[in-house]
Amino acid sequence: MLYNIHFSIDVDVAMPVEDKSKSLLPFLSSPKLLPDESEAEFQSGLQSLLSELDNPSPLAVALVSQLNECLWWIKRHTVDKELLLHEAMARLLSREGSNWMGSGNSKLSVALEHYLGGSAHKDEVDFIDQALTEANLTLSDLRAKAFKDAARHIKMVDDLIHRQHQTMRHLQRSIDSIDYKSRLIKRMDLELAALELKQSVKEVSSLDAKPS
């Protein structure tokens, strides 16, 4: 069931704004991370974004945490682009070598992943070298071919990254709008106070001018 919203609000409405922004952090910024991702890194990104705002309102904090999530998604999708290439390279190697299908694509993918990451064992290196020789390809040839083969999916990931950028632009405009609104309210309050002051000065001076 995907409707459930994965956060809870625990905010006392009588709290000052600074405290509210702090207590809102777990509300909208509780991250849904992948097993190999660091929550500390996510939170430090959020804190650095928040530090750029001058006394943010709770709504601004909520929007900034969404913005931080977009940045996180961009990071994930960028990694995916490289993984897509690796996947296509494994697929091509498997297709080119006649006897590789029998041993399964998974073994080849794992070996290739280790090979490209520089953490392959000797037998994995031999396995990939043999596959490349049989396919009559160098690693850069394979990469170029894989790029062509995976172009459709890479384009999709590019679209996803572009969407996150667009979303960030929307969020930034919303944050600016909230900021402008609060400045406007402050300015109007000050103007009102100045007018009241002027009025009271006028009243006092008119009282002084009256003959007793």
Binding site: M1, L2, Y3, N4, I5, H6, F7, S8, I9, V11, V13, K20, L24, L28, K32, L34, S57, P58, L59, A62, L63, Q66, E69, W73, R76, H77, D80, L83, L84, E87, A88, A90, R91, M101, G104, N105, S106, S109, A150, H153, M156, V157, D159, L160, R163, Q166, T167, H170, L171, R173, S174, S177, I178, K181, S182, I185
Partner: protein
């Protein structure tokens, strides 16, 4: 029975299935194609998150209408992003058997499996063609990363609409 043969026999037998018969089974299978549920319009106004958000936003000087719009826009956006995460983290699994099987080499097994029903070479060819098309489909979908990318790509429009709704509510508020 060798593993490949057994798997193939299971697949062939599954083709004979006529689907669910009980009411409960039909109810379950009616939800099979449901992916994310983002086309529905949930009623946020009953949730406590919504009420708390409205109270909080009202303190920032927004009108009551704007508060309601912003709160439901924010909750809707969160709903989309939660579905985005769920889609990304649970792509359709790769059917390695189908992807890696050698359809041509499986023809003798097909004919053996079909023989009790008095199969003809035409039946075997049809069975092989069916498995070959399933294999093409499976291979076209690619590996786990390709699958999660294309599944997540389908949610772009929901994210676009969600953020546009939220942004509009805030700027007009």
């Amino acid at each position: 029975m060798p593993n490949h043969r057994r798997n193939l026999a299971n697949r062939c037998n599954a083709l004979k299935s006529t689907g669910p018969r009980s009411v409960a089974g039909k109810r379950v299978s009616s939800q099979n194609s449901r992916k994310h549920g983002l086309n529905s319009s949930p009623d946020f106004e009953c949730s406590c998150e919504y009420r708390a958000l409205v109270e909080l936003i009202a303190e920032e000087g927004f009108s009551a209408f704007a508060c309601a719009d912003i709160a439901s826009g924010l909750l809707n956006y969160r709903r989309v992003m939660d579905a985005y995460y769920d889609t990304y983290t649970s792509p359709e699994p790769v059917d390695e058997f189908m992807r890696d099987m050698n359809v041509k080499a499986s023809n003798p097994i097909f004919s053996e499996l079909l023989s009790p029903s008095g199969s003809e070479p035409q039946d075997v060819r049809e069975m092989a063609a069916f498995f070959a098309s399933m294999q093409r489909q499976e291979r076209r979908k690619g590996g786990p990363v390709s699958r999660r990318s294309s599944d997540t790509h389908k949610l772009i429009r929901y994210q676009r609409n969600g953020i546009a709704r939220l942004s509009r509510a805030i700027r007009q508020g």
